[in-house]
Symmetry: C2
Subunit: 138 residues, 2 copies
DNA sequence: GAAAAACATGCAACTTAAGTGCAAATCTAT
DNA sequence: ATAGATTTGCACTTAAGTTGCATGTTTTTC
């Protein structure tokens, strides 16, 4: 359990009990989680605390928010290697319209996009909607 | 004004007064509009009516919804040519983090993306965040 | 052209995610 | 151990989105 503690400290987050648990929760999950998902996994803790915890994680660069078109924010850990944060980790997100789950396809980077003159790109989000492998088999 | 009426009829939408006005409003605007934006432009009409009108437009393929990460849905006309709807009009959206405006860059198509085995793509959204040309000059 | 059916509009209310204020609890450093 | 800072939990607020229903308007049918 000291491993997670190290990760949090590296991101300048004080390793409280809830934070350790939430990190573990997110790490053991392979799909992005809504605040409701997280809430369901932590009956004991308050919604606000979980909300502020995930926002702290986000601010410190531990997780990133994903907008998959459902209108509900989802969150996923920034990198599985738990190493230093990549400055431009512009992977794509896949949202399954059947099971409603969203995953980071970290191996699939966003190709270079040319913009009109005068436009400056700071960040990118590529969202692909469709049917995931699991739902495709059914 | 009969021109807009034709467009609506072509999309099987009955051309009521509000619908004509909203179409005109969206056409004369070069950035995507939130429901609040639309509301501000139509003091007379009710929020619900405007909401249902934009949803009707969306359902009939006249407008598309844009999620630019602000958490508030924006809408823009599907095609400027007012012709038949392109089945795969996968252009990209640019959201300016300074002026908060979002535009469709219809000339900039999304490049082909390869997905993992078993994944089926139905739709795509590419959102670029940065500074638009107007804000860049300031 | 009147009556019936279908659709559009406006008002009020509800739902839900997100966010804030504040006091109590916990942790950190001296 | 105590003072200061941070975290947590509860209650409340905000705002977007949505629905139910009654009224108004248009379209269709005879």
């Amino acid at each position: 359990m000291g491993e997670i503690e190290e990760v949090l400290k590296k991101h300048h987050i004080r390793p409280t009990a809830i934070r350790l648990l939430m990190y573990k929760y997110l790490r053991d999950r392979n799909v992005a989680a809504t605040l409701n998902d997280i809430e369901s996994g932590f009956d004991k803790s308050d919604r606000t605390t979980l909300y502020r915890t995930i926002k702290t994680f986000e601010k410190k660069g531990l997780v990133h928010q994903i907008n998959d078109g459902t209108g509900i924010a989802k969150y996923a850990l920034d990198d599985k290697t738990t190493g230093t944060t990549a400055l431009q980790d512009l992977h794509l997100h896949f949202h399954c319209i059947k099971c409603n789950e969203t995953v980071c396809l970290t191996d699939h980077k966003i190709p270079h996009i040319s913009l009109p003159k005068g436009y400056l790109s700071k960040d990118m989000n590529l969202l692909v909607k469709g049917v995931c492998d699991k739902c495709n088999l059914k």
